[in-house]
């Protein structure tokens, strides 16, 4: 065979667009602009908004949900979904309340919470990854199951009497207006950023969401990754349960009702593809702040809760539809 080197051995450039152009044309950048816009609208709408203590209070609107949203983002990127997260909070909180009645102290309470959360996640994980059942069905089932257990244990009663040291998680300040939850939120965000964008595990998650068959053929242990993602979501739900229970100081079986919807909205608003395969943690961070500010701003304007729920619903439909509409418009224009 005559040599093939007549075809010039050109090397392919690494990147098509510079990281800078990529950044400013990203969904995250658009979202950041929206966040800044909402911030100024809030400043205009209410003179109380800029008060540091007010702003600090406002963060409670999103910190707990966002901690679950990070784990949920990974689950959705892998092509699955977990709708049982709010019910895991209810079950975990109920377990903590039960243990408090037996005189268990804070460290053991937190440990028990994490354990119960992980067990709930593992239960979801076995059904989805082990038996190969569709996660949407499995987690709608466990959504009823986990909260159902909380209702059986508590009925219309409530647990309270949490130890004083327990209050720090949801009510404590680290420095000035900086709450413990804010610090935890930042640390968790950083950890998840590293996990998704800087580790082999994160790569595997994205690959699975794009094409589970090809990922399996590429030697990724698909079932194992998915199982671990559900356990992780269970653990993050438990962390959120600790913070929320601590902040409220009591447990009712209706705790965190409807949060799964807001968390999924947060994740999708953050630019995570609901069909799996793509998404970033910075996007979810900005989306969490946007949603927190909107809820808080509407609260300052005395908008009733039901209107906020309508708003969240519209937002969810809007952010799912928008990227699809944009993509179609781009195809029409051609290139």
């Amino acid at each position: 065979m005559s040599s093939t080197d007549t075809k010039q051995g050109t090397s392919i450039p690494d990147r098509l667009r510079s990281p800078f152009t990529r950044a400013i044309t990203s969904w995250e950048f658009l979202l950041l602009c929206v966040a800044i816009l909402i911030f100024f609208l809030n400043v205009q709408a209410s003179p109380y908004f800029l008060d540091p203590w007010n702003l600090s209070d406002a963060t409670f609107n999103f910190t707990e949900k966002a901690m679950i949203a990070f784990a949920m983002a990974l689950v959705i990127i892998s092509g699955e979904i977990d709708l049982s997260v709010a019910s895991i909070i209810a079950l975990v909180s109920t377990c903590m309340g039960f243990l408090v009645q037996l005189g268990v102290d804070t460290p053991a309470l937190v440990a028990a919470a994490i354990l119960v959360g992980a067990a709930c996640g593992a239960f979801n994980g076995v059904l989805v990854a082990g038996l190969g059942l569709p996660s949407i069905v499995v987690t709608i089932g466990t959504l009823s199951l986990f909260r159902g257990i909380a209702y059986i244990v508590l009925g219309d009663k409530a647990y309270s009497g949490y130890p004083e040291s327990f209050a720090f998680f949801g009510q404590g300040y680290v420095w000035w207006v900086i709450t413990f939850e804010m610090v935890l939120f930042a640390v968790v965000a950083l950890l998840f950023y590293v996990l998704l964008h800087r580790t082999s595990f994160g790569r595997s998650t994205i690959a699975i969401g794009n094409n589970p068959t090809a990922a399996l053929f590429a030697g990724i242990r698909v079932a194992r990754v998915k199982f671990f993602l559900f356990v992780l979501t269970g653990i993050m739900s438990a962390v959120a349960a600790v913070c929320l229970t601590s902040r409220l100081g009591s447990t009712r079986p209706s705790i965190a009702a409807g949060w799964e919807l807001e968390i999924v909205t947060m994740v999708v608003l953050g630019g995570v593809n609901i069909l799996g395969g793509a998404g970033t943690i910075p996007g979810v961070v900005i989306a969490a702040i946007v949603m927190g500010m909107v809820t808080f701003g509407l609260g300052l304007l005395n908008v009733p809760g039901i209107v906020m729920s309508i708003f969240i619903g519209l937002l969810l439909i809007g952010v799912i539809a928008l990227p699809i509409i944009i993509r179609r418009a781009r195809q029409r224009v051609g290139s």
């Binding site: 093939t4 590293v194 580790t199 690959a207 090809a214 590429a218 242990r221 793509a278 051609g334």
Partner: protein, 508 residues
């Protein structure tokens, strides 16, 4: 422009100055093409020459940036696939795009089913018409059977029946024979003749020159998104076409090899599966290319899937480098130095939504990462190295694999497996649907790998490839190993008769 057979005849469909660009790539630059009634026009070109893009423009999937499409001299806009179908343009694709869970009749008539006077689907008329169409093309398929129960050849026939049912005037066949066996191809030829007789204009895309000279009346050669030549098949030769296609002359297609075979690296004994294959025994040595021949559906891919740990065998023993192993997953197989390049690159090979570099680095993550943390520099270095060796054509390494042509996607898939530095590589139809230039590059690369001591198992349905490349051939039929032939004594007749189960009457 060449003179049509009948000079008074005007084309049914004309493309004029079609331009289509994608980010970083000009897929079609000012392309013109005429299709005539009752004639087969062969579309020839290397991977990435723009053939698939042209088909997508013709079927309303892509909109050209500029240029006109006219049918019977009238300029038309094929804005959506529905518009294209209404204009009488239909395509039979490489991988058929039909509905597995619907019946044959529903597949044929979906979108234009006959209706009763209550506007409901008239099932009886639909099944009757479907049966008539299928009979017309000589297909013995029941209209009421589910599509998923049919083989690939019969699915093609359903696609052709569908083309007839919408009364298409232009039929595009995108490598229709790629997945067909020898006998099925003969039947397809008869069908094409029939379509010609019915006055359809046929655009026939193929990489097989024997096929083109057998069936086509005219040709159009594409290179790098441009039309380089067109004319009558009778006025040209395959050597001329190849030269125009690659822009240079290609010598002998198969590299000559004289290999020192090393020690046995893989031994397979009594390998069986509940339904797919039974009692497979073979071994491969370092530096050897072992061919697996058989008809489509003979159980070769299924056997390879079990070897790679995707499916569980029911019995059998594997020995890799003298050690007995069980491979429970592809991850296990990769860890033991055994990799598999799948036949179905869209579903199993490439992750089209991810970039070239992500695809190539994926199975090598253990090597490129440090304690579980990815190292981008290492990943890019790996991708740069292997894309250069395989002469990949792409705009950038962070381009999505889905934006590449079929042949370049295949190069990415091969690159990603080679990057794991395996000891044994299974290539399942490694050159299926890729052009002569890329084919030769893949073959040359295979022989280089073998001379470096890699053991290669090559599953192929192409007889020249098996004969040209393999040191030893195993023939499978209906899940069983029916012959093992050394390269000195291999012949096309021997392979075909073993694969088809024809009793040999004393020949060779």
């Amino acid at each position: 422009m060449a003179i049509p057979v009948n000079s008074s005849q005007s084309p049914i469909l004309s493309l004029n100055g079609i331009v289509k660009t994608f980010p970083g790539v000009k897929a079609l630059s000012s392309v013109s093409l005429d299709l005539y009634a009752g004639q087969v026009t062969a579309l020839i070109g290397e991977n990435g020459a723009g053939k698939s893009t042209l088909v997508k423009v013709l079927t309303g999937i892509y909109q050209p940036n500029s240029g006109t499409i006219s049918i019977d001299g009238q300029v038309v806009s094929l804005a959506t696939p529905t518009h294209a179908a209404r204009a009488g343009v239909t395509a039979i694709h490489q991988e058929t795009v039909l509905f597995d869970e619907l019946t044959v009749a529903e597949n044929i008539f979906i979108g234009h089913a006959p209706r009763t006077r209550f506007k409901l689907v008239d099932w009886r008329a639909m099944n009757r018409n479907a049966a008539a169409l299928l009979e017309q093309i000589g297909a013995s398929i029941k209209p009421t059977s589910l599509l998923r129960d049919l083989g690939i050849a019969n699915k093609h026939l359903v696609a052709i029946a569908r083309a007839l049912s919408i009364d298409a005037r232009v039929v595009i066949m995108d490598e229709p024979t790629a997945a067909l066996s020898y006998k099925e191809i003969e039947e397809l030829y008869l069908l094409v003749e029939q379509l010609k007789a019915d006055g359809k204009a046929i655009l026939f895309i193929s990489h097989k020159f024997d096929e083109i000279f057998h069936i086509a009346d005219r040709y159009s050669v594409f290179r790098d998104g441009e039309l380089v030549d067109d004319g009558m098949i009778a006025d040209t030769s395959s050597a001329t076409l190849v030269k125009k296609m690659v822009g240079r002359s290609v010598g002998s297609i198969y590299p000559s090899r004289t290999n020192e075979l090393g020690e046995t690296i893989l031994r397979v004994e009594g390998f069986s599966h509940a339904t797919e294959f039974d009692d497979i025994n073979f071994s491969v040595k370092k530096g050897e290319i072992l061919g697996f021949y058989g008809l489509v559906g003979a159980g070769r891919s299924e056997c390879m899937h079990s070897l790679f740990g995707v499916t569980r065998p029911s019995a059998g023993k594997l020995t890799v480098s003298g050690k007995s192993v069980t491979l429970k997953s592809p991850a296990d197989a990769i860890a033991h130095g055994l990799v598999y390049v799948p036949e179905d690159r869209g579903q199993q090979g490439a992750i089209t939504g991810l970039s070239i570099v992500d695809n190539i680095a994926l199975p090598s993550m253990k090597a490129t990462s440090n304690k579980g943390f990815v190292r981008m520099a290492q990943e890019y270095a790996l991708a740069r190295d292997y894309t250069q060796r395989l002469e990949l054509k792409a705009a950038a390494l962070d381009q999505l694999v889905g934006e590449l042509s079929g042949g370049n996607q295949q190069k990415v898939v091969i690159a990603k497996w080679l990057a794991t530095k395996p000891a044994i590589i299974i290539l399942d139809e490694p050159t299926k649907g890729i052009d002569i230039g890329s084919k030769a590059a893949v073959h040359l690369f295979m022989s280089e790998l073998a001379s470096q001591g890699l053991a290669i198992i090559m599953v192929s349905s192409e007889i020249p490839e098996i004969i040209g490349m393999a040191d030893r051939v195993i023939v499978m039929r209906e899940g069983r190993q029916v012959a093992e032939i050394e390269s000195e004594s291999v012949s096309p007749e021997l392979l075909v008769s073993a694969a088809a189960g024809i009793a040999e009457a004393g020949t060779a």
